[in-house]
Amino acid sequence: MRPDTTRKMDLVCPAGSLPALKTAIDNGADCVYMGFRDDTNARNFAGLNFDLANAKEGVRYAHAKGKKVLLALNTFPQASGWQRWTKAIDNAADIGIDAVILADPGLMQYAIKNHPNLRLHLSVQGSATNHEAINFYHEMFGIQRAVLPRVLALAQVEQLMEHTPVEIELFGFGGLCVMVEGRCSLSSYATGESPNTCGVCSPPKAVRWQQTAKGLESRLNGILIDRYSEDENAGYPTLCKGRFDVSGETYYAIEEPTSLNTLELLPELMRLGISAIKIEGRQRSPAYVGQVTKVWREAMDSCYRSPQAYSVKPAWMADLGSISEGQQHTLGAYYRPWK
């Protein structure tokens, strides 16, 4: 399949709250994505997300400015709570959500049966890393876009796109999952709650900070994730980003606390015909969302004006660097040697 490179990529920005949604749109997002205030989405954090009234207002605000709203319903419904997820689908259709982002096949089936006009996106939590998997969801449920897990090198993305009519959305910036999304149970192993079942990873309620003689310790359900000396900045104890001991060597055995940043890949993403770039961070503040959206809007506009002359401006990197996790950036798996 030849991707449509004449259509501009959507900038898809996170909205953890109504103020964040408005800020994202005011700073140049083409789409925002949000979740309801429960375990139907993979950012189920206290104080975050939308009740129905807020969601309606968000849709009204976005549509008035010609922008779109996507709703993440990307956890896997458990047998006992099924109606919570189907109700969320019904609500999404009722309030005019532009697309729902789903991971569970059972829920996709419900959506096409009950709301045939509702547009479906395959969530990154659906773990589709190859065109056979994406085409499966396309044939079965008519999904129109797939968000790819952060595991493929760009050459692999390109190859995948040659074999599917489904639009492709890539993560461009923000927190970096090292594991294939949807196939990571590390969090439930440590705490009982995982992204698939509860919409959380390394949940805040399991986190404890403790100042000790050896330094500041961060623990998750009692498990020591990291220990910081006085001259180090302490980070949130996401369990795959701690320092551990492997064969007597202590290091970031899985991943450093870095953020994904693909600004330098923009001309390449454009050439490939990627449909949308996703910014991670629904758990972030409106100020963060505004800042990131503004930089990415500028960068994308600059790239479309003149892909050959495009280069990453140091000011953009400085702006993004000041707000990123660990203040380090990586191209992640898009850059093959990262693997």
Binding site: Y137, Q156, G192, I223
Partner: protein, 304 residues
């Protein structure tokens, strides 16, 4: 209930693999899953080799299932997948929806645990496509399983991962290569040095995870040998033992003895303890964090 042996999740040398499967052929196991499910760089056994192992196991009376790779990234991964899906003799365990697409409505298949079946609606869909068995997600509890089986169509077998280090996560990155400061494309096949993976401990020495190439496992050994009654009454048809570097055949024998009530759960737990690379956990089955160990007879928690 039937007893199954999962695919070898580690990278062992060719002779060790063949010798292992000779022993498996003579062991008291009903079903054997074979194939490389973790990393496409592990080349010492090719599909052709697995097929010849499959033939031998089938001759020994075992039901053989070919397991597909969990993380499919490249065209060459897909090429292998298509060959497995196109084999006309053996059942296939589909571990990715791409594999499901290739086997659906063509051959009976086993829906692997990484397909993320969490509700009866999704399971019914897979039954409709020809799934004859499914393996529940490792993090699922007994309570959730019972609730799911209570409202899905009949006619599918349920399998549970009942013994072994839990396959918890998959990545594009190879953590074994990373440990050796190597890139994955030049990993020098270091996984060959770790027949049970590479244990990751916290900085206070608690065994936490186990690095196995691109797969991250639990350091503790998920062990449901003390829960066989609970598995059976929940509607489980098949219990899976995952191969480890040593003593796998003895572990299969203990499961068999326990299933046929030649050993009590207490005796089996005590005997299996001497054969394990690390202590037991079973929290998932009880709806708790996976690393906990719950002694089921009196429901009191004990240290693992």
């Amino acid at each position: 209930m039937k007893l199954a042996l999962g695919p070898i999740l580690y990278y062992w040398d060719r002779d060790t693999m063949f010798k292992f499967y000779d022993e498996v052929a003579a062991s008291p196991v009903d079903i054997v899953y074979i194939g490389e499910t973790v990393c496409s760089r592990r080349y010492l056994l090719r599909l052709q080799d697995y097929l010849s192992v499959a033939e031998k196991l089938a001759e020994a009376g075992k039901e053989v299932v070919l397991s597909t790779q969990t993380l499919i990234e490249s065209e060459s991964d897909l090429k292998t997948l298509r060959k497995i899906a196109g084999n006309e003799k053996f059942k296939v365990e589909a571990n990715d929806m791409g594999a499901v697409r290739l086997v659906a409505n063509k051959i009976p298949f086993v829906a692997g645990s990484t397909l993320n079946v969490y509700n009866p609606q999704t399971l019914d869909m897979l039954i409709g496509m020809g799934a004859s068995r499914w393996v529940m997600p490792v993090e699922m509890s007994r309570e959730t399983l019972v609730s799911l089986l209570g409202s899905c169509q009949p006619g599918i077998e349920t399998e549970v991962f009942a013994y072994g280090r839990l396959p918890l996560a998959f990545s594009a990155r190879c953590f074994t290569a990373r440990h050796h400061n190597l890139q994955k494309d030049d990993c020098q096949f270091r996984c060959l040095d770790y027949k049970d993976g590479l244990t990751l401990k916290t900085r206070e020495g608690q065994p936490f995870l186990n690095l196995n190439g691109i797969q991250t496992q639990s350091a503790l050994v998920h062990n449901l040998i003390g829960e066989l009654d609970s598995l059976q009454s929940a509607g489980v048809d098949v219990v899976r033992v995952s191969p480890q570097g040593e003593h796998t055949i003895q572990i299969l024998q203990l499961f068999r003895d326990c299933m046929e009530q030649r050993l009590s759960a207490e005796q089996a737990l005590e005997q299996i303890g001497k054969l394990m690379p690390e202590a037991s956990c079973n929290g998932y089955w009880h709806g708790k964090p996976g690393l906990e160990f719950i002694r089921s007879s009196n429901s009191s928690r004990v240290a693992a």
